[in-house]
Symmetry: C2
């Protein structure tokens, strides 16, 4: 029995030899370059198929100094926000023959810098970053590389180039208006993760500012250090209520927390919204299945990914764009 010897890579040269044409002709056919005769194309395709040739992108990218890769750095995979954004990004990239190289920063600026450095080494054709607060090191690196950059999630702040997201300060203010307009006068707030994403802090501050402005200041808030989850939401609400029993409504940093809080209310005889109104953020699917549907501020995460990828592909270096995707209040019964 012959040992399964590791096959040598089939190169463009091999195809050229078999097809009886020059290297560059093979290259042109593979890249669908213009001005190729049908005869030549057929010979090349035939030979390539016979040999099982697959182009080596490494070589092509080295030569042209630009790859079909897009570097994507997100902070986390632990709630459905970023996976959905990634899904949106990939849907556009794959339709355009591009692939995503992924970096996960864990909300750590140093890790973000490392991830960007690592990913830029592949000469990606573009970079998608999360948030507008990129460190100086990141900004310097991408400028040196001279590639398009799109920052997702936020629009409050200054983008390196383009951005797709929402205004979290607008969302925070809108949450305040929403609750006050419905007659709630003693609102609280619950967050998590120690507010590591700056945008959640911005949202809370805008929420508090608008409440104060309208004469119904934030009664109390609880930011737990742990990662957002339903159990943590229940815990945070219990803790918040013990310190501030007079609250009539609570705005949450996200729906995971809000759903957990809703469960806490159900388990403890707190009627929602009569005794306590709950307002979520993100509008994820589960909120519409709970016995009391969660009222929430919906964001478009898949679409955010789609728009970010499009912006990268259609990039016009001279006119960076900021796309505000906005948000909307979902129907629910928890407010």
């Amino acid at each position: 029995m012959t040992s399964p010897k590791r096959t040598e890579r089939v190169t463009l040269k091999d195809v050229a030899r078999v097809a009886g044409v020059s290297d560059i002709s093979v290259s042109r056919v593979m890249r669908r370059a213009p001005n190729i005769s049908d005869g030549l194309r057929d010979k090349v395709i035939q030979a390539a198929n016979d040999l099982g040739y697959t182009p080596n992108r490494l070589a092509g990218a080295l030569k042209t100094a630009n790859s079909n890769l897009v570097a994507v750095v997100v902070p986390s995979m632990s709630n459905e926000v970023f996976p959905e954004v990634l899904d949106g990004i990939d849907s556009v990239l794959s339709a355009n023959g591009l692939s995503a190289v992924l970096g996960i920063s864990k909300y750590d600026p140093d890790r973000e810098v490392e991830a960007v450095r690592e990913l830029l080494a592949w000469s990606p054709m573009g970079l998608i970053l999360t948030g507008l607060n990129a460190s100086a090191a990141v900004t310097r690196m991408v400028e040196a590389q001279g590639i398009p950059v799109v920052q997702i999630m936020d629009t409050d702040g200054t983008a390196i180039q383009s951005a797709v997201g929402i205004s979290h300060s607008a969302a925070g203010a809108a949450a305040a208006d929403f609750l006050l307009d419905r007659g709630y006068g003693a609102p609280g707030y619950v967050g998590a993760w120690g507010e590591r994403p700056a945008r959640s802090r911005i949202r809370r501050e805008a929420f508090a500012a608008r409440l104060a402005e309208r004469g119904a200041p934030l009664q109390g808030y609880k930011i737990l250090p742990g990662q957002s989850s339903a159990p943590l939401g229940a815990e945070a609400l219990a803790s918040l209520l013990s310190e501030h029993p007079g609250l009539d409504s609570v705005f949450f940093a996200n729906d995971d927390l809000a759903v957990g809080a809703l469960f806490h209310c159900m388990a403890n005889g707190i009627r929602v919204p009569q005794d306590l109104a709950l307002l979520g953020f993100n509008g994820i699917a589960i909120g519409s299945a709970t016995p009391t549907k969660l009222t929430s501020i919906s964001t478009q995460r898949f679409r955010m990914g789609v728009e970010a990828a499009k912006l990268l592909i259609d990039n016009d270096p001279d006119s960076p764009k900021t796309v505000d995707l906005g948000f909307s209040f979902t129907d629910g019964a928890s407010v």
Copy 2:
């Protein structure tokens, strides 16, 4: 004002010139090759920092014919399973200076083939695939490339090389035993996505087979075409119960469906588990926050990613491994 001219890439040659050493010495320092004098290293590091040099991985990988990339193909991002696996993968990769290039197949074998072809063009050092049912085209391509492959999720079946996952047939049988041992005699089943992941079908079939074996055959099941979600779980349960009112228990393809079903019960006065027992699959966080905690079969998704990445890195081509991570029943109050 000078126009912000796109800076030329700083190459290793530039560093060598500034440091007054040869190209190869810079290369050696950057790669931390052995046998470098401190003096030389210092000069090189100094020059590299001054110039803001970052290595071009494209060139290095082209030369060595192996990159620091790992190709990862998953079917979906729309539930928390694969994001958690990816998180686990990335945690190991980033600790080893590797990056993931991502492909999303949407459970479509053709897309999977395309994604693999696309990703292999980058000469990744390894490939992580989802499921054991890779198409012949995929198998051929990875064998031609001669790189390590790890398949995740399943262990029932034949791996190309190595695999990390669980036995879904064992899980299905265990679910049957679990319900029967607790005295339920009229079980049903709910799935979704038209059972596109083959492993969910395997689980259901093993569930039904064990039930039949023990004389309490599956009373009825409902596989909805839509993507799994809590709302769909509620809908599926309602539909299943209308066709099979006598059920005393239901096993779900995943916790998203089960949680939705739980909500349906709460909203419709169906007492869980007295009137109907619910058994989930995956053991996601939200199930432990619901007023009635969900009883579920827990899997280790992050760890699956970790083990897969480790297997790839420590690959021994001569002894492929299959790692069964097993599953466990979580405490809950829904059975």
